[in-house]
């Protein structure tokens, strides 16, 4: 049985533990070589600390506020520098993030799972915030694929980048696709210092609530790695986390401090939680698919919304008291 040893090994992991290293770094803006060197150093440190997985933040290889520098620091997936970084992951898993240039010269914010010397999987950020202090869509293309992938850790891994986790569907789709370990890498700008917040930082409270919610609803581990340091006006707040499948926060890194933090998790917690609380079993993706198809058609004005008041615009269930004049081409579906 050729695969036997591997299988035994995976089952055996049920009673073992996985050591996760969170590389809460402060990347240097636009300095790809310096950041690459730092990644190599930290991968070495993580290995020495016995880590099975080391996670770096969003755009840890380039810095965040790149603007027109994005093209200058972009790497193709066949870039030798990426291959060398992957080469540093024998007997180890790493999640790194950089600007990826596709063959047709689109620039993506990418996160890659590197394992055993290879680039195992690349996730291209699918939700690019372009509002408030964010301007990502101006400089980057949005990814349009979401895949959970197997990993040498014995757990299915789902990668997401920052804003991806501000959209409910992402964590759910990854979990339904087989992820048991959700990894979110971020460059989250800290803001809102109102004294009423949990730790005096609105952004931190908001993110930690999300991480906990996703872990609990997907009954998966959630690993959140957020950067520190400054790009221009922005201060990144760190506070990286590992949350158990029951929503319990297993580890929380300090705010604003750079560091490599390790935490051990029991992969068996996924099975325990999913049997005790079979939320994932009870998901109804086929119902979602059907209803989403209906909603999409109605929003496009291609179907009559059976739940809407008469005279409501597509996508709205409430009709205006005084219906506005309809421009040509915007006919309501009846």
């Amino acid at each position: 049985m050729r695969a036997g040893a591997g299988r035994l090994n995976r089952y055996a992991r049920g009673v073992q533990s996985i050591r996760i290293a969170l590389a809460q770094t402060a990347p240097r803006l636009g300095q790809l070589d310096a950041n690459l060197a730092r990644h190599h150093e930290l991968i070495g440190e993580a290995r020495a600390a016995g880590a099975d997985l080391v996670v770096f933040p969003e755009l840890g290889l380039t810095g965040y506020q790149l603007q027109d520098l994005a093209a200058d620091v972009a790497m193709r997936l066949d870039d030798p520098r990426l291959a060398r970084l992957a080469g540093a992951t024998r007997d180890l898993s790493a999640v790194v993030s950089f600007v990826e240039e596709s063959a047709d010269h689109r620039l993506f914010i990418a996160a890659a799972l590197l394992e055993d010397g290879e680039v195992r999987h690349v996730h291209r950020k699918i939700h690019l915030p372009t509002y408030g202090l964010f301007d990502e869509r101006r400089f980057f293309a949005a990814g349009d694929m979401l895949r959970a992938v197997p990993s040498r850790l014995g757990l299915g891994v789902g990668l997401a980048v920052c804003e991806d986790f501000f959209h409910l569907s992402v964590a759910q789709l990854l979990a339904l696709d087989g992820a048991q370990l959700l990894v979110n890498v971020s460059s989250s700008p800290g803001r809102d210092l109102a004294a009423t917040h949990e730790v005096g930082l609105g952004t931190a409270s908001s993110w930690w609530t999300l991480m906990r919610t996703y872990a609990q609803l997907t009954t998966s581990f959630v690993v959140f790695c957020n950067r520190v340091g400054n790009d221009e006006s922005i201060s990144f707040w760190g506070g990286s986390e590992v949350v158990a499948p029951n929503g319990e926060t297993l580890f929380r890194a300090p705010l604003f401090d750079e560091g490599l933090f390790t935490v051990d998790v029991s992969p068996g917690d996924v099975r325990r939680e999913r049997i005790a609380v079979p939320l994932l079993r009870d998901e109804r993706p086929e119902l979602q698919l059907r209803e989403l198809a209906r909603v999409v058609a109605e929003r496009a004005g291609l179907g009559h919304d059976t739940t809407a008041e008469s005279g409501a615009e597509p996508g709205l269930d409430v009709a205006p008291d005084d219906p506005p004049h309809e421009p040509i081409g915007f006919r309501k579906a009846r």
């Binding site: 803006l29 210092l193 109102a194 005096g200 221009e232 705010l255």
Partner: protein, 307 residues
């Protein structure tokens, strides 16, 4: 109008040092940490290790001096005191007290000769000619602020440090600043803090009480105060701006919250009317790639640090 008040820090006499509206209270520990890293990063990314602050004896520049000293050490900070002949002696004494407590380098540069050299003095015309003798306090105030700016930028060279901005969010939003004068700087660590929050942070970092308690003043003439000039107190103005700008409430909603509608309208005009002071001047778009329009690089990027 009901104004919830947060617990303001107490002074030596057991009385609150200032009025702190509840919704403006910040976590000063987090603010100090963020600002400390911000100052260090700004200097490092620019290739500097030192900083210059124009110290007036007021709370804004006092707080910035303390924050810079906390971030890089007092030995790397130069405070420049730039009094005019009518400036308040008490302000100068407060500034000197802050310098002593911080243990930083300091220098006094009198700007009287610079300002009087232009506007004239005691009936003798200056560079501005006879008309200059009749210059309004407004013109004189702006001129003095711009003279202080030139002094700071000269000391930036001799001291080898970046000029740190000392303007707060309240004065920036209502335009109570001199364009290319007190608003000129390499970076500003307190520009996103309302006056009430500046006071809160000043108390947390140990700025002397006399500086925190003193009525804020541009010190353009003896006895002048910001609040008398503006006809509104800082706690009220800060709350109004907080709800209007940060919390995106409409003028109608502010009136419903109890703010005086006439004040709401006046502040609205001040904010809109000073938009030009908060932005880089527009360049006529002519070429294929124009700075600030479609040539967008980080201010600090590889190669931008002083060699």
């Amino acid at each position: 109008m009901s104004t919830g008040a947060a617990a303001a820090p107490l002074g030596a006499d057991g009385q609150p040092l200032f009025e702190l509206p509840a919704e403006l209270a910040i976590d000063t520990g987090v603010a100090r940490r963020v600002i400390r890293e911000f100052i260090r990063a700004q200097l490092r990314q620019a290739g500097f290790e030192r900083a210059v602050v124009g110290l007036s004896g007021g709370i804004d520049s006092g707080l910035v001096a303390y924050l810079v000293a906390e971030a890089i050490g007092a030995e790397r900070l130069l405070c420049v005191l730039m009094p005019y002949r009518t400036s308040s002696p008490a302000s100068r004494a407060d500034a000197e007290d802050a310098v002593r407590r911080l243990g930083c380098a300091s220098e006094v540069v009198e700007i009287s000769a610079m300002v009087d050299g232009f506007f004239g003095l005691e009936g003798a015309p200056g560079a501005a000619g006879r008309e200059g003798l009749e210059a309004s306090p407004h013109r004189r105030g702006n001129f003095a602020a711009r003279m202080r700016m030139t002094v700071l930028y000269d000391r930036s060279v001799t001291w080898g440090g970046l000029v740190v901005g000392t303007g707060n969010k309240t004065e920036s939003l209502v335009g109570y600043t001199t364009l290319f004068g007190d608003s000129a700087c390499a970076f500003n660590p307190i520009g996103d803090l309302y006056k009430s929050q500046v006071r809160q942070l000043a108390a947390a970092v140990g700025v002397p009480e006399t500086i925190i308690r003193k009525a804020p003043s541009a010190d353009l003439w003896p006895g002048q105060t910001d609040e008398a000039d503006a006809g509104v107190s800082y706690p009220v103005l800060d709350r109004l701006l907080h709800w209007r700008i940060d919390k995106r409430r409409s003028g109608e909603e502010l009136a419903a919250m109890g703010f005086d509608p006439a004040l709401v309208e006046r502040v609205e005009r001040m904010v809109a009317g000073s938009e030009f002071k908060r932005q880089v001047p527009p360049v006529a778009k002519l070429g294929p790639r124009t700075a600030g329009v479609d040539y967008l690089y980080p201010r600090r990027r590889p190669g931008s640090a002083r060699g």
